[in-house]
Symmetry: C2
Subunit: 192 residues, 2 copies
């Protein structure tokens, strides 16, 4: 698998964020643009992503397997980051009722912040969001990549950056909320 230097990627990522901030009228629009680009990238990467995992149709629908695939095939293979992944099962709901966020199946993906320079994060290693850009979702492209790739697999998710080393947290953590009870049906059939 071809690789490029992490620092070059980090600086290129920074350049696109800078360009978007310069061109968009406010932080909200900048965040939307970052997410949009990320989703477009995710759409393109999904085949490559599947080739790196043992996810298969049917199995794909299991959020536990997806969680591990994101952390391993995703963060490890694409960003060289060793991420911890944890799956939390949501509450059982009645059929046909969409649970609110805190009841949903969710994945927590976590990796070290700036402290651990040996494991430099190839996205945010040198980033501190200044006061006037507070609210900027620096991770927006990466969030979009996950969201876009999962959408192509018919797995709609919401993703929240629940800890962020760009704004002073010691770790970065993404929480992925699975939008429907995937354990119920996938491609029209029961998989659990």
């Amino acid at each position: 698998m071809m690789k490029v230097n992490a620092e070059l990627f980090l600086l290129t990522y920074g350049a696109i964020v800078a360009q978007i901030i310069e061109d968009k009228k406010d932080i909200k629009e900048a965040n939307e643009t970052l997410l949009k680009y990320g989703m477009a990238i995710g759409n393109r990467l999904v085949d490559d992503f599947l080739s790196k995992t043992d996810l298969e149709t049917g199995v794909t629908g299991k959020p536990e397997a997806i969680t591990q695939a994101i952390a391993k095939a995703g963060f490890k293979a694409y960003l060289g980051l060793t991420a911890d992944a944890k799956f939390i099962k949501g509450d059982e709901m009645e059929d046909g009722i969409e649970p609110s966020r805190e009841h949903k199946d969710r994945a927590i993906i976590e990796f070290p912040g700036k402290a651990d320079r040996g494991k430099m994060c190839p996205v945010s290693a040198f980033v501190d969001i200044p006061e006037h850009l507070r609210g900027l979702q620096y991770w927006g492209i990466i969030v979009g990549v996950m969201k876009g790739a999962l959408k192509m697999l018919d797995i709609p998710v919401e993703i929240e950056v629940t800890k962020d080393s760009c704004v002073g947290d010691t770790k970065t953590e993404f929480t992925i909320y699975f939008d429907k009870m995937l354990t119920h049906t996938y491609e029209g059939r029961k998989i659990e």
Copy 2:
């Protein structure tokens, strides 16, 4: 050395080019912006670049050594590309006279285009510049990175993309023109 996935880099690179095209009023301005971002990245990368080469003060000034360093430390280490490098000595000029371009010392850096998919280019693998964007310098950021890093080393250059797989050539080739006869003086002393 940390690495990230080449396809993720390629798509991120593509996203920044797309964003710049969308926001700038014409191709000329887009090209200038790409070059500007590249130079900013080159300024930041130069210390890392020096750490990957055996270039030292004084030696740095030898364009032959710089040519090899760009192809090996540059293209190989940053983009994972196996590039061929060739140095062509310019004509001898009288002291103090800046030679015109065709008389300058120059480096030619060349690497395979799309045909050789095993060596996918992590910048332009899937790129074909459409007719309405003719003139876009897709390589602008990479050109800027080289220009910016060399400028930090007090080595001003001009760089021309002399073959370009994005517009149908079978290879991509950069010609680097060294802006002054570096063999004459570097840091105030004769080095050859």
